[in-house]
Symmetry: C2
Subunit: 340 residues, 2 copies
């Protein structure tokens, strides 16, 4: 049982973590911290969190903090924790120091571009017994940011990446079963103690996740190949088509294959810009390998080498079939007729 | 009402055309012709077709024709149409001449690589009142093949492409509603009469399809962009990953975005080899445009130009959203909460 959990960002990822911990009875108190006052108030209203904290003047404009206070209560602002006749959170948001006081676990689930600013803001208030983890889609850059922001306290930071998501966001999207059966990759640092890593792992396991461990570099190479590159490729294709003079005609004939292929191009441009830049070296490596592969296919196509094309297509079909079979075998128990 | 329809290939596409015509009461007799004796026998058994024809010694090995006869009946082979006490098809397959005699409409739904051989085989038997159409995914090459194989009779050939498909095949995959609400593109020739084009259009409309008209060249450019290129790109990515030394590790972390992006790489390698080669010029043009787009994105990524990356990602997201909204509006009536 975690006594106190602090979550920065209570949208789909952070909010679902909170809901899952509560459902499992694995956390006594959950404090949500965020810049969007309305979202924090909504998370409180939905019972996702028990109290709201503000992320400090560095990360939150004064007006936003004031709005947060207004959203939570029409009473005049009072010192945090001093409101009488109700929970502190209903009266005014907690300061960062109060939010973090006595916390067992802190999860960063805000946009990754904010990671370093949040870590820098919490560093002065980080007590010895508190472990910090995150949910960012890239890890090498997060580790570098953590080293800069936390200094020696980086030993308390266990980087993580839950492999789960949906196309929705905000507190209303948070669900208690988002992580069930999904992987959470922990990319522990040399400075982390095994006990601290295990505490983070246990929290994710309480949410239903399966723990995997990779180094930050392994993580970034893997996800550059199977996630970041496909996103870039899908965005590139839709943009390419949309810029053609006869784009309307083209889209008119696009069918279900195109829809599935480009589904990930419906993702947040800001988030994927940040991920692309954050994982630039690994993504460039994968992109270069892919462009070389396309150059090869282009040559086969230009010379009409059907046998070579078929070898590539066949190998891909076979590999994908094997992969899908493995997934289905792993996910088999709940439903015998998995749709693929 | 079509008196007699002849369908080459009674798998998903040809078989569903047959079933839809029958359901609509739009065809009196349907003759299936094909090389795979077991498939033809199965189509007959399922009631998809009323009789089986053989596609001639040029296209069918003698042993396959014999197998077809054996599959259809254990009685000794007799002259087509002369079997007493039952439908001719139950006794022996029809010759190509008999199959085509008095046909109103012929649909070619066999693999596109067989198109020219089939057209050459039917040319001598093609009566003046018969119209031929096809279901091939590429059109310029089909038109060229038709001109070579049919000579002056090419005026009787109205090329077509139903935009419908599933991951299943064979007669058992055939369903009567495959084409409802789907587009069928007709790429008429200058030699076609409007009356003949309209007869083909009417048959597809009877199946529930919506008729669109493009030139063969327009068709091939459009589908190179929205179908053929995405297939090549998906095959390329899966093959690229599968060939890496750490492919197993990579596939282990591939998630739903990867699954959707690569779904079309599960398609038949032979079919897509043929389509790639058949539409080579247009596909090369689209591939070159895409490779130029990737080179641009690579440069933006390498220089850390987040604003430029975001413009591309944003434009793509916006265009895809518009497209999906248009699709949903077009498909709205049956279900108010379309899943996207």
């Amino acid at each position: 049982m975690l006594n106190k959990v602090v979550i920065f960002g209570v949208g789909l990822i952070g909010g679902s973590f909170a809901r899952a911990l509560k459902k499992a009875g694995a956390a006594r108190e959950i404090v949500g911290v965020g810049r969007a006052a309305a979202a924090m108030a909504r998370a409180l209203e939905l019972g996702i969190i028990d109290a709201v904290g503000v992320s400090g003047s560095a990360a939150v404009p004064a007006s936003a903090a004031a709005n947060a206070a207004n959203a939570a209560s029409t009473a005049p602002a009072v010192a945090p924790g001093l409101a009488a006749g109700g929970p502190a959170s209903a009266a005014a948001p907690l300061s960062l120091a109060d939010a973090l006081a006595g916390a067992d676990l802190v999860l960063l689930a805000a946009p990754v571009a904010q990671t370093e600013a949040i870590l820098a803001a919490i560093a002065p208030h980080l007590q010895a017994g508190t472990i910090v983890t995150d949910a960012g889609s890239t890890k090498s850059d997060v580790v570098a940011a953590a080293r800069r922001a936390l200094g020696a306290k980086v030993a308390q930071f266990v980087p993580g990446h839950p492999i789960a998501g949906r196309e929705t966001n905000g507190p209303d999207a948070a669900i208690d079963h988002l992580y069930i059966g999904k992987k959470t990759v922990l990319t522990a640092l040399a400075e982390n103690s095994e006990a601290d890593i295990e505490r983070v792992a246990a929290a994710w396991r309480a949410c239903g996740a399966i723990i995997h461990r990779l180094t930050p570099e392994e993580h970034d190479k893997v996800f550059a190949a199977v996630s970041h590159l496909p996103h870039l490729l899908a965005y590139a294709l839709v943009d390419d088509i949309a810029r053609k003079p006869h784009a309307d005609l083209l889209f008119q004939y696009a069918a279900s294959g195109f829809r599935d292929f480009t589904r990930i191009a419906g993702s947040s441009p800001e988030m994927w810009r940040d991920i692309s830049l954050a994982n630039q070296p690994a993504l460039l490596t994968e992109l270069d390998a892919y462009m070389a592969q396309l150059a090869l296919l282009r040559a086969q196509l230009a010379t009409g080498d059907g046998a070579a094309l078929e070898r590539v297509y066949s190998n891909a079909q076979h590999a994908r079939h094997q992969w899908i079979s493995a997934i289905e075998a792993a996910e088999a128990p709940p439903s015998p007729d998995k749709a693929e």
